[in-house]
């Protein structure tokens, strides 16, 4: 049978949700980062799904752009992670809580 559009949407939504949950649950910075990547991918799936069901190129281009953005974020994010790891020998985000209240 034909896969329905809503299936893909549902799948991406589930992935997105998992990503968000991961961001909240994981304590390792890198893991959180990966969860965010997961969220982005979920969005990509949505785009592609729409695009293909509309026979439209916009969505796929969007995905293309999103990938580059993700790459950029990856670079910078990992840079930040390295920097913070240098100053305090841990990646546990809960340790990074001197700024509060």
């Amino acid at each position: 049978m034909e896969p329905q559009l809503s299936w893909y949407l549902a799948l991406s939504a589930v992935l997105f949700t998992i990503g968000t949950a991961g961001v909240i649950i994981k304590r390792n910075v890198i893991a959180m980062f990966m969860c965010i990547e997961l969220m982005l991918n979920a969005v990509n799936l949505t785009f592609v799904a729409f695009a293909s069901f509309f026979h439209d190129v916009t969505g796929q281009l969007f995905v293309f752009i999103v990938m580059t953005v993700a790459a950029a974020e990856a670079a910078v994010g990992l840079g930040i992670i390295i920097a913070i790891f240098r100053n305090r020998e841990t990646l546990d985000v809960d340790e990074a809580s001197i700024l509060k209240l």
């Binding site: 968000t20 961001v23 509309f54 026979h55 969505g59 001197i98």
Partner: protein, 525 residues
């Protein structure tokens, strides 16, 4: 088909971008002795960009949809662009000497700052969600780096980390929202058989979205997308409950960066936020679906509630702060709330003229906020000395007459933030509140002014500490670097000028876009 290229349309962005690249190169291939060049070059770039911007304004061509309508040319864009340029210029002046003192790579700082500026400008000028998203990302990534710029400082690291995680988290939401809108705005043209014969694909062009919401294929997705975009933008402009990152990040980031973040990205956020929601999801009277009207009504009322939350939270929590930077962070949240009041009015307005007025009010408000905020942070930076050490209220005790220039200018900024007459803040407040009253949001405005009264408490607290108390510990007046002095003078004069003779600036900001946007929507109906 060939790309429709119209360089003049994006001249400012291109100029700033070029300046950034040049700065980078100079930085790479220059001896440390000539570091100051980078500052000069970037400043020049900003100025030229401003000139270009003004030229664009002068020969105000109607919004040419070059780049396939991805860039608009209207007062909203240009006005905000000028604000961004101003903010960046002031931040540059603040940062040059500071970077030297902190042994930080000034060149990279400047180029990143310029890139961030480009991002902001794109956010203001983009008429397509793609551009908006890209601009936002550029801005965000640049500011992540800037926030963590003092690499060796734990607080700086932490603030950049928090900003990075939460920022990308929320931008994922924004992206999801865009995706849903893209999908939702597709139109199914029904053939004779009643089943969809073919589908007009969805769009990410804001104007087109506006024209389509009435007959969108998946209204529910449209709503969900709107909500998610609200999250993304709300994060950028720090409205409750998405303000949560602000205090920590502002406190941890280096002071000039904080000044920049509180003034620039907030304004940029408002720019694109308003463009997307006011022009993208306007009030549309259409028989076809009642949902469109109620969508508009939904996001407007939601924003109203958020505005109340934001103002109240910001002011109330600011009262109990003891760190000046953190206090200013909360106050910036509160000010986002005030600006939201104007935004709500703009959204609620169905009459183009009143909508223009409201948008102008918000623009003007953000301008005034940028000026007085950067001024305040300039003083904070001077008093904090290197490494942002002295930022607690106690450090200000009794300095009033020890270094009167700093103290009085800081008091001026505080009073302006408080919204006392004869200062910029006053005019800004009455403009946004006026717009809201015009739309009948009396409750909103009353809550706003009561919040102002509350805010008096902590703004005055700083003045009181400086003037009414006697200093216990020793205090040697810090020397004010020339560039910072220039910033101070500019901001002080700006606050007074905008407070006493704001007429010309306001007139310049008068937006007349919507009229033609409305015609656009009519034609596409």
């Amino acid at each position: 088909m060939m790309p429709i290229i119209n360089w003049s349309l994006i001249a400012p962005e291109v100029i700033v971008c070029a300046a950034a690249v040049i700065v980078m190169l100079i930085d790479a291939f220059s001896r440390p002795a000539q570091r100051w060049i980078t500052g000069g070059v970037s400043l020049a770039g900003l100025v030229i960009a401003a000139v270009a911007c003004v030229c664009l304004w002068a020969n105000g061509t109607p919004a040419a949809d070059a780049f396939n309508g991805m860039i608009v040319l209207d007062e909203l864009r240009l006005g905000f662009t000028l604000i961004f340029l101003l903010v960046s210029a002031l931040t540059l002046l603040l940062s040059t000497v500071w970077a030297e003192n902190e042994q930080l790579p000034a060149g990279e700082f400047h180029s990143l700052l310029l890139f961030a500026t480009v991002g902001m400008m794109l956010m203001a000028s983009g008429n397509d969600l793609v551009i908006v998203f890209l601009g936002l990302e550029i801005l965000s990534i640049a500011t992540y780096v800037l926030a963590g710029f003092r690499r060796t400082d734990i607080r700086s690291n932490e603030s950049s980390l928090k900003y990075f995680i939460l920022g990308s988290f929320s931008s994922a939401f924004l992206l999801y929202g865009i995706a849903l809108v893209y999908g939702a705005t597709s139109i199914a043209e029904l053939g004779p058989g009643g089943e969809a014969s073919r589908i007009v694909p969805g769009t990410t062009n804001i104007a087109e979205i506006a024209s389509r919401i009435s007959e969108a294929q998946y209204p529910a997705l449209l709503y969900a997308g709107a909500a998610m975009m609200l999250v993304g933008f709300g994060f950028k402009i720090a409205t409750a409950p998405f303000h949560i990152w602000t205090p920590d990040v502002y406190e941890g980031a280096p002071t000039p960066v904080t000044a920049f973040m509180a003034a620039g990205p907030k304004a940029a956020g408002f720019a694109s936020f308003m463009r997307v929601f006011i022009f993208g999801l306007p009030f549309v009277v259409s028989a076809s679906s009642a949902s469109a009207g109620s969508l508009h009504q939904t996001w407007v009322s939601t924003l109203a509630v958020m505005a109340i939350l934001t103002m109240t939270l910001g002011n109330v929590v600011a009262i109990v702060q003891n760190n000046v930077k953190r206090m200013l962070a909360y106050s910036s949240i509160a000010h986002a709330g005030y600006a939201l009041v104007g935004f709500v009015a703009a959204g609620a307005a169905t009459d183009p003229a009143k909508r223009d007025a409201a948008i102008t009010a918000v623009m003007f408000y953000l301008l005034t906020y940028a000026v007085m905020n950067i001024g305040a942070f300039a003083v904070v930076q001077i008093i904090a000395r290197s490494g942002d050490r002295r930022t607690s209220i106690e450090d200000y005790s009794g300095i009033g007459f020890q270094s009167p220039v700093l103290a009085f200018s800081l008091s001026l900024f505080m009073l302006s933030l408080l919204g006392m007459p004869l200062t910029a803040g006053f005019i800004g407040k009455i403009m946004v509140f006026g717009a809201a009253i015009d739309q009948g949001y009396y409750v909103l405005v009353v809550i706003g002014v009561l919040n102002t009264a509350v805010s008096a408490y902590y703004y005055l607290r700083l003045v009181i500490v400086m003037f009414f108390g006697e200093r216990t510990t020793a205090w040697q007046a810090p020397r004010i670097p020339a560039s910072v002095a220039v910033t101070l003078v500019l901001t002080v004069l700006g606050v007074l000028y905008l407070g006493v003779f704001p007429g010309r600036v306001i007139n310049a900001f008068q937006t007349k876009i919507e009229s033609q946007l409305f015609t656009q929507t009519q034609t596409q109906k």
